[in-house]
Symmetry: C2
Subunit: 622 residues, 2 copies
């Protein structure tokens, strides 16, 4: 199997179309092996890709990419698509530095129609592309493939509301595996369950239409009359789905592991040339026992052992777990504490809290906007809501943070996970904007602890000493052992003073790199530096500024965007106060950080101890 | 009538409950007169308030505020609510400096449950409040009043998806006037139209249930059997609405101008103690001839003449109109240009474009997330999409700007209207964050023209000379005659040099205030200043920095948030380059700007020429 005899002959969708249908099964087996083999080494999204193997094969059989364009929602289920569109040879490099992206990228292949890393964007993008095709007279159908989890995001609804009645060739394929990232949430999930229980729906309608169309003379008029007649009768013979109410032609449910059935339906949809909604039922994790049993744990995995199927995401030594455990501890004696997650119960470490305080845990689906305002509502009613969310996804709540949380000073605690560089997920997932945008919102307090002990201190202070909204942001992964014991007495800042010459300032986990840099500078360059580690990064404390004023050179390292970030804000305040000495900033400057291991990305940005030492040595050259 | 004999006796909902029902009609007439009289002087939202007079009266008759809490979506239709909850005497001050807010504010009254100025937030907030009541054991029902326009926002859908199946006393009232801010958009609007055509729905169901419940012995079993039986039969006898699919008990449609009917339905809903969705039909602008005929034009008005009904919003001399007209001109010779608005066709000046290029104008509803990604899709397909949006509402697109527009460098033009201070709408609507957050996004170019000519230059350059995403931001209202002729030759910056001492830097319309300050400084303080007006504010041009380096004092005035804004970014760059002279910033510092006239707000921030002159004179004192 490790030879992949069939898969490696498929260099393009054209090759796939030439393949004998009797070999589809073997092809799918090979694809699954390749997926498991690769993801066990590189990490990545396994369950969702295992579940969409046949779907992707059927897609490329029925549609003609790149003339037809396929937009993958979230994009992490596009691995099979990559294997079938000429990227088999590079597939081992997926999510690695300079390798294939874990998401569709236009720059990577003409078969990748649109970038996606966040959820619920595909219908909007596909509708835009379809409309552009119509305007510019280009051929081809635009296809969006969206999971049921992504349908919990309001943006998908906005798009359905707009796209359903257009006249453009647009096909929406709902990949319904009856569970989103963790557990599917809310009414839409239940609604889909009802439709799923009616496998005959599509066939019934088809059958009746066929019957009437083939009944001589009176068949057609009866059909037309039925369609045109009152809503009541229409509902009786033509029960409608939510999606039909929105203007789409609905087809389904179709078995998402039956290539022949899907291909037939897709080909039919392709001919219709107006909005079609196809409901495909798949099984997440299909074909890999461990993932099938526990798809949530395999949603986005680092690396794992193929035999035991043990993914790393469940490990307890992480900022996420630390946050979840401490919050659970606090919640035991404080009934006001409740936790909110946007479909990331596992990722954010809230599974323990969920088990102990089921009624106080709200998994709202991929609905960060609702999450933030719902939290504001809870706070306004006297609860202590804690919204645990990845930095990159918090971007979806930006307006709600200002409008619903900050203006009325609602006491919401944002637990901002994956703040800073996240590594292999690349550009779409880097948490490099939160420090800048949170610090701009009036009334927000923002903490950036560098180890677990500080994380707990910050959470405690946020809940029991402060009155307005607070964000506590912390990185992906574990605390660095080098700084695990370096606890600040308070959540303000910590100074390690050696002299009044060179001061190196940072916040968060880069403190560890700075300690390395300090040692290198002393040993190799005979430069002594002082270190200021900030914990409270917003509002900027006057004491910090006074301290910095005393140094003859300040170097600020920030694992975040430079423009408008904390370093620039502090530089401006210093300049206003009359600081006239050297000030240098190292941060992410007007660029997106590509994928790679955390350490590689950190090195690439020049944030590692070695690079920092070189930078300072260079700056301090006489 | 100007005495308002009945209205002025209502100091609280309790007073209203004591009123003889025969006087409800007169009371509503008085309220409408008061609304028209006041809004004609203060400006504000007229149509939506005229349409909800009876609805609000019925709400306060059926519910017991503040034990029951009413959350108004968008909030601009809460004027009658303010009149009935003890704010009649202050009502003339609405939207004025230090007066009543045009939106619900908790700080203003115990009857204002939650702030709202942006759309589609009410269900999330109300659900949070309802949940908090349950947790804390507090009595009362939570009510959200949401318009059909707000249902086009995905956030409302996220909230429905979450709230529908809760067990808390939550009542959602859909105020369906069959048109949102401009024209209602998309499938949901059509869907509501279908329901509206079935006024018997609620009664039919009621009737059948009653009948069966009162049929001895077999009635109840038949009813239960019907409910439990197959979906097919259920649909026949119990047709469900979208809202029922989402778990709500649906009641309606109810005539939104019939107080008795509404009161009965509301009282019943109040007893149910679980999620109820009530569909109320109202007529926007009801009771004022001009507004009824053209509710779009009266949505948010400045001031107008009661007799002629001529609202100021349609005036042609504004940045919005200038943008719309110029875009229309460009679109005549460029078929790639298309325009997108999120339910603000009139507000953003796109009505001319809409009339000329109907197929290239997309009014997506109150769906800024979709709008941005849809634009990215259009751009990716070779079109030139222009998304015209108010600065404050663009906050809703923050994630999409990064994720869907910037990473792949999709060429989308954001026409950011109402950038800067907007005046009477207050905290929720100030456009003071866009310069900061747009400038942080890698690859974005941001222009801030100060007059119409520059606006056109910037638009032209964005569309025909640049390749990535561009934002052109401009203020509410007209260009200042003082600077109408001050055209930059290019869209970079413009220096008025007098010496190398004091440099005053700004961008956008504050340029006019700076000219005033310059004159005052010369005349009254004998201080000569140079002026640098930036047009391109992102990326910051190296030439600008070099220029500033030569001055011995730089004063930067920014009509936006200070933290992370353009001034701070420039200060940081200067400090990094070794600038050692005086640098001062005047911007909005960690606060929200309350309502008032534009000029009042500008003065309050110290942005007016007089204040600026004093500030500089003070800074330059020997």
């Amino acid at each position: 199997m490790s030879e992949y005899p069939i898969l490696k002959t498929i260099r393009s969708p054209e090759d796939l179309k030439k393949l004998d249908p009797s070999l589809y099964g073997t092809l799918c087996d090979e694809i699954r092996c390749k997926l498991i083999e690769t993801v066990s080494c590189t990490g990545g999204h396994l369950s969702s890709n295992l579940g969409t193997v046949e779907l992707t094969v059927a897609l490329h059989l029925a549609f003609c990419s790149p003339i037809d364009q396929i937009v993958w929602d979230v994009g992490h289920q596009s691995y099979t698509h990559k294997l079938l569109t000429g990227r088999f040879d590079q597939f081992d490099t997926i999510r690695c530095q300079n390798g294939l992206s874990g998401f569709p990228r236009k720059s990577e292949s003409i078969h990748d129609a649109f970038l996606a890393g966040h959820s619920s964007t595909s219908i909007s993008a596909a509708y835009g592309i379809a409309k552009a095709k119509t305007f510019t007279g280009k051929d081809g159908v635009t296809v969006a493939v969206i999971g049921d989890g992504a349908l919990t995001g309001g943006m998908a609804y906005e798009a359905l509301n707009n796209a359903g009645r257009c006249k453009d060739p647009l096909v929406i394929i709902l990949n319904d595996n009856s569970m989103s990232i963790s557990k599917n949430v809310g009414a839409m999930a239940r609604y889909l369950a009802v439709i799923r229980s009616k496998p005959g729906y599509f066939r019934f309608k088809d059958h009746l239409e066929n019957l009437l169309s083939h009944t001589p003379i009176i068949g057609e008029p009866i059909k037309n009359w039925l369609i045109a007649s009152k809503v009541f009768f229409k509902k009786l013979l033509y029960p409608t789905t939510f999606f039909e109410d929105f203007g789409f032609m609905y087809m389904g449910p179709v078995d998402g592991h039956d290539i022949t059935s899907m291909r037939r339906v897709f080909e039919r949809a392709r001919e219709i040339k107006k909005p079609v909604f196809i409901h495909v039922l798949t099984k997440k994790g299909k074909g890999y026992e461990y993932a099938e049993k526990n798809p949530g744990a395999y949603h986005g995995v680092s690396t794992f052992n193929i035999e035991t199927g043990n993914p790393e995401t469940v490990e307890g030594d992480s900022f996420s777990a630390e946050f979840g455990n401490y919050l659970t501890r606090l919640a035991k004696t404080d009934a006001r504490i409740c936790a909110i997650t946007a479909a990331m119960k596992y990722g954010t470490g809230l599974q323990v809290f969920a088990a102990e305080f089921r009624s106080r845990l709200f998994d709202v689906g991929i609905a960060e906007q609702h999450a933030a305002t719902f939290a504001a509502g809870l706070a306004s009613g006297g609860m202590f809501p804690v919204f645990a969310v990845y930095s990159t996804f918090l971007q979806r709540s930006y307006d709600q943070l200002i409008h619903d949380i900050a203006i009325e000073k609602n006491k919401v605690l944002l637990a901002v996970d994956r703040a800073g560089i996240v590594g292999s997920d690349g550009e779409t997932h880097q948490g490099v904007f939160d420090a800048a945008f949170l610090s701009q919102i009036p009334g927000f307090t923002v903490y950036s602890p560098s180890n677990y002990a500080e994380l707990r201190l910050c959470m405690h202070k946020a809940l029991y000493e402060l009155s307005g909204p607070v964000a506590v942001r912390y990185p992906r992964g574990k605390e660095n052992p080098l700084i695990a014991s370096e606890i600040s007495q308070n959540v303000d800042y910590q100074l390690t003073d050696s002299n009044r010459n060179v001061l190196l300032v940072t916040y968060g986990r880069l403190f560890a790199e700075i300690l390395t840099a300090k040692q290198l500078l002393e040993e190799q360059h005979n430069i002594k530096i002082s270190i200021l580690k900030l914990v409270q990064i917003t509002p900027i404390l006057p004491g910090c500024l006074d301290m910095m004023m005393q140094y003859s050179a300040v170097y600020f390292v920030e694992e975040g965007i430079k423009a408008g970030g904390i370093a620039e804000q502090i530089a401006a305040l210093l300049l206003e106060k009359g600081y006239k000495e050297k000030f240098r900033i190292r941060a992410i400057d007007n660029t997106f950080i590509a994928q790679g291991k955390d350490t590689e990305c950190i090195r690439q940005c020049g944030f590692d101890g070695r690079s920092l030492a070189d930078w300072i040595a260079d700056g301090e050259k006489p």
